[in-house]
Each structure stands twice: as C-alpha cells, then as structure tokens.
C-alpha cells in the first residue's frame, strides 16, 4: 500500500489541516447554492427512527470508465447508508430526473413527487495527472437547499474509500454524529471440521469488500485487535506450539512476539495511545493482567488475584480499565484505575458477564452475557447501571465498537446439529437500538471481529 498524505481543504479560507499518514485524498468544499441551514436531521439518540428516504443518483462521468465509477460509487454509498438503518435509499427505477447535473439546481419537484427527502448526486472526472476528482452535492429536497458539497482528489484505485468517505460526510451532516464507513474489520476466518478448525487472520472493509487473508491457516490464531493507527494488529498465535501475543504490521506482514513472559500470554489490546499493550499472562494456571510498554518493553503487573483476570479494555481517556474476572465466584465485570488500583465490581445482574469493551465515546460498555443457557450482547454504563440487552442467541460473543460508538459488531455461532451439520459462525452488526441487525458478508465462517478506528 502506498502511504501518502491526507489533507482536507476548504475553499473558504483554504485552511489546511495537519497532514496524516494515509492514502492521498484531497477534499474541497463545493459551493453552488447557499449552504443555508436545513431542518433535515435524524436524531439517532431517540429510540425508534424512521429511515430517511434518500435518492442516490448515479454520479455523472465523462467517458465509459468515469461513468462506471460513478455508478459504482453511488451504489457503495447507497449500500452504506441503507445498512446503517437510518436511511432508506429510494429505488432508482422511480427516478424521474435520472442524473441531475452538477452545474444546475436539481428539479426538486421531480424528487418530491417520489418522496425523496434528501438527494445525493455527483460527478467523476479523470484529471490530466491521472488522479480522480469525485464531487458530490447533498440536497434537502423539501427545503430546496444544499446541505453539503465536497470534492475529493485521489488515485483511481481509492474510489471505494472515497465512496465511504462520502457516506461518512452524509451521515455526519444529517445525524450530527461521526460516521463509521471508512473503516476496516480484522477478524478470524474459520473453515474445516469443528474439532480441528482452521483459523486465519483476515481483514476487509467494514462492508466486507477488499477482503484479504493475512495468514495461511497453518497456525491457530485468535482475538485480533487494531492499533490506533490501523498499521498493526495484535493477536494470539500458537506459532511454535505455545500460545503467545504477537504484533503484526499489516502491510509488511511480519509478526513479532511481544514480551518475555514465563507463561502464556493472551487477550491483547492496544492502549488508546498505541504505546502499550494490555494482556493477560497465565502462569501455573493463574491469569493476571499486565501492560507492556512497546518501546521500553517494560512490564507492569496490574492484578493480584488467584482468579482468572482477562479480556481487558481501556477507557478512551486511558484512565480506567474494564475486565472480566471470576474472583467473586463467577465471571463478572470489574473496573479499575489504569494503575491497577481501586478495583470495583460493576456487573450485578443474574448470569455471567464477559468480554467488556469500552465505547470510543466513553459513555457505555458493551459485553457478552451468559444466562440460562443463552448468550446475549448488551451495553451498560461504566458504573454498571442502565444494562440493556441488544441481541441474543445460542452463542453471540465478542462485541466490538464502530468508532462512532453507535454500532457494534459481534459474531453469532449456531449450535452443531445431531447430524454433525450446523455450527457455523458469522459476523453481524447491530445498532444501539437493537433494531437493526445485519450480517456482514465474509467468504468463510467468521469470528472475533475487531472494528478499526476511522482512517487517520
């Protein structure tokens, strides 16, 4: 992957943000009509949301390839918006004005009559230097006002990212919340018989596209997590027969064992600043939490208990850690300060609580709950109050947050039938209302998803 510079440019004042390591994408605000205030808004903090009807027209393109890209970009954006459960793309067959021009105002009456409350259209141009210019406008059809207009410059093979970035811009403009479409998912691809399952590290875009296996399946790998920069993942591997925590550079593909520990290491996660790993280390059957400074390799033990202490997660401000422990007799959630002090149990409901994950917004913890022979994915506040179960099944596990803290991904495993069939495992996303559960397509069975932060 070519690493370049990402800059955002606003034509009003040409303000330049600091460059970050990423694929080179330039952005310009496109003005036409006055970008006046619009009332069109989805409040996703409310319980029930009626999806907003939005018309997503194919982006215009001069020439065959630009036209094809224009169609593809529109379909990726429409699919992103639809999957969020907050938007209902209008069937393009109903469109009266098939392809609005970027040079003139849309014929709003044509869009009103098909009940599209918002209209997205755009244009794809190949520049002389070989780059792509993709621009779009978002309209409030009833107010007849432009809500957003932006142009992006990038290498043509980045067109999918541009589409996701446009989806994020629309999501943010209409909901007021950051989007989560320009993200990736690392997970474990599963295949083969259940008593000797082949497991491979795999990575894909959040919509399942750009899928790639990172390992060949000869070595058992589990529980991957992204670094904050998205450049690295940490995971458990049985390389050489002993389970140990590794860090792997995604693009270079080299893996490195982390820490010189006398026992097995597992359950790794990066600290929010990416400078440390927090892991469990098991020696003589006792699992404790440790941090490792990735530069100095200094280890620090955080828990001191004969119980199983594992599945840690930092709060986004790095000041606290939530983990699960059976120190009270059964698996429950505990929060402690980042130095290991002030440990307090926060889960008090019936059943066992596991795999807590702190929301990137800091306001909630997601968890797996096991009760009465069923598994649940739920959320609660960091003080343990406000428990809400979002979904259930024979086996649902391992919630991971979208970077905006509004959507979770997890895996769902079916029971093995008497004839030996079944037992499949797939990835799903669900929003915080619990009403919009969607399968994430993967080529093989899938488990242990980890959602990336937004691309820097």
């Amino acid at each position: 992957m070519i690493v370049g510079t990402l800059c955002l440019i606003q034509t009003s004042g040409l303000k330049r943000w600091k460059p970050l390591a990423a694929v080179a994408i330039w952005l310009v605000v496109v003005g036409l009509a006055t970008p006046a205030a619009s009332d069109l808004r989805i409040d996703i903090t409310r319980g029930v949301v009626q999806p907003l009807p939005i018309a997503v027209a194919d982006f215009e393109g001069s020439g065959e390839e630009a036209s094809r890209l224009g169609r593809d970009i529109a379909s990726v954006v429409a699919a992103d918006l639809e999957r969020s459960g907050l938007f209902q793309p209008v069937d393009p067959k109903a469109f009266i004005q098939a392809r609005p021009s970027m040079e003139t105002l849309p014929r709003f009456g044509d869009w009103r009559v098909i009940d599209a409350q918002a209209l997205l259209h755009g244009r794809v141009l190949f520049l002389e230097d070989g780059r792509l210019r993709v621009e779009f406008r978002l309209w409030d059809v009833f107010a007849e006002q432009q809500m957003a207009g932006l142009a992006y410059f990038t290498a043509p093979n980045n067109w999918r990212r541009i589409a996701h970035i446009i989806s994020d811009a629309i999501y943010k403009r209409i909901t007021g919340e950051d989007g989560y479409f320009d993200t990736r998912v690392v997970y474990i691809a599963e295949s083969g018989p259940h008593d000797r399952r082949v497991k491979r590290l795999a990575i894909m875009d959040q919509d399942g596209e750009n899928h790639r296996f990172l390992t060949d399946g000869r070595t058992l790998v589990l529980t991957p997590r992204f670094s904050p920069t998205l450049q690295e993942i940490t995971y458990l591997s049985y390389t050489g027969g002993a389970p140990r925590v590794y860090i792997r550079n995604i693009d270079i593909g080299r893996q490195e064992v982390i820490g010189d520990f006398p026992g097995m290491t597992f359950a790794p996660r990066f600290s929010p600043d990416g400078e440390k790993l927090i892991i469990s280390m098991a020696k003589d059957g006792n699992s404790e939490l440790y941090t490792i400074d990735l530069r100095t390799r200094a280890k620090k033990r955080l828990t001191f208990s004969s119980a199983i202490d594992t599945s840690p997660s930092y709060s986004p401000d790095s000041r606290q850690i939530v983990f699960n422990s059976d120190r009270g007799g059964s698996q429950q959630l505990y929060v402690m300060d980042a130095d290991g002090s002030k440990v307090r149990r926060i889960s008090h409901g019936k059943g066992r609580y596991a795999t807590p994950v702190w929301s990137p917004r800091g306001d909630l913890l997601a968890f797996t709950k096991i009760q009465g022979g069923k598994f649940y994915i739920g959320v609660m506040r960091p003080d343990g109050s406000g428990e809400r179960l979002l979904t259930e099944g024979y086996h649902v596990e391992a919630p991971t947050w979208a970077p905006n803290g509004r959507v979770l991904m997890f895996f769902r495993q079916e029971p093995i039938r008497k004839d030996g069939g079944g037992g499949g495992s797939r990835l799903f996303s669900i929003d915080l209302t619990g009403r919009n559960e969607r399968e994430i397509p993967t080529p093989l069975d899938a488990s242990d998803p980890a959602w990336s932060p937004l691309h820097p």
């Binding site: 359950a267 199983i308 096991i370």
Partner: protein, 179 residues
C-alpha cells in the same frame, strides 16, 4: 500388546514402592520388593525389560490405555475422584519410564467466552500437572498448553459432548530413548 492390564498393575505396584527409585527404572529390584504377589512381580520384570526403551508412539498407546484424559465439571478445575485415579495411572507410567516427557492440554467446552476458556483450560492443565508432580513426576517433564474451546474431543452442542470436552489430556511429547 495383550499385557496392558499387567503393565498397569505393575505401574501401580511401582507407585507404592517408587518414592526413591527414580534412578532405577528398567531394573526389577524395586518392583519385586513389597509388591506382594511374587508371580506378578516376575511378569513385571519381563515387561519392564522389554519396554524400557518405549518409543513415543508406544508410550502414547500405553497412556491411552491407562486413560490419557481427566474431565471437569462446568466452569470447574478441581479434579474428581475418577480424575485422580486416572492421573495416578499416568504418574505410574511416567515414574516407570523416566525418558518420557508429556504435554498436558487443557480444554473447555464451547459454552463460555473464548478468552475466559483459554484461562480455564490453562487452570485445568495445571490442576492435572500439579497432581502428577505430587505423585513424584518431575515438573520439568511436563509442559502445559491450553486450547480453550478450540479443539473439542467430541463435536456436538449437547451436555454429553460438553462433558467430554471439559478435559485435561496428557499427550506423550517425546522420549529420549525412542528418538
């Protein structure tokens, strides 16, 4: 290999008398004393001579014959009475053939979360290891590894399968005599 029951008896006899015989594997002197049944002791002598250089494959066969695995209750890692008897048989084999090294694999059923099950498997493997050590096996000959819920012995989503999968299995890793 029809003489397995005898070999097992011999192994148990050795346990009773073996506290200080770790240097004497392969000799008949330790087994003959105090074993009670002279007839059996003679047979034991012959078998020991035959099998002193067990290959890892043969050792593994013996291990399976004795019972290579012990089972645990749901979310438990304490040994059952039955589990202890199995481990006593394993200890006898290991105390007889000092060249053998083993790996104890700890496993969990599928009704837990993956990371917790890794920790639980580690606990189970160590529970089995600790008992073998109590029975005189050098801890340096025992490696433990957990597979959590990743390697079920029985594929199935029912109580019977789960009970079989909550286990610590002792696998012969090597034998200096056989390699």
């Amino acid at each position: 290999m029809r003489f397995k029951p005898v070999a097992l008896f011999a192994a148990l006899a050795l346990v009773a008398a073996c506290e200080s015989t770790s240097e004497e594997t392969g000799t008949a002197s330790g087994a003959g004393t105090g074993a009670g049944d002279v007839e059996t002791a003679v047979v034991v002598t012959e078998i020991e001579v035959e099998e002193v250089s067990l290959s890892p494959v043969e050792a593994e066969e013996e291990m399976v014959g004795i019972g290579d695995r012990v089972f645990f209750g749901f979310d438990q890692y304490t040994l059952s009475g039955e589990g202890r008897v199995t481990l006593e048989g394993q200890a006898a084999l290991l105390n007889k053939y000092l060249a053998i090294t083993v790996v104890i694999e700890g496993h969990a059923d599928e009704r837990g979360t993956r990371e917790y099950n890794l920790a639980l498997g580690e606990r189970r493997a160590n529970a089995a290891k600790n008992y073998l050590v109590v029975l005189g096996v050098d801890p340096g000959r025992i490696r433990t590894v957990t597979y959590g819920e990743e390697r079920p012995a029985v594929v199935g989503s029912n109580d019977g399968a789960w009970a079989q999968n909550r286990r610590a299995a002792t696998i012969v890793a090597g034998s200096s005599a056989g390699s």
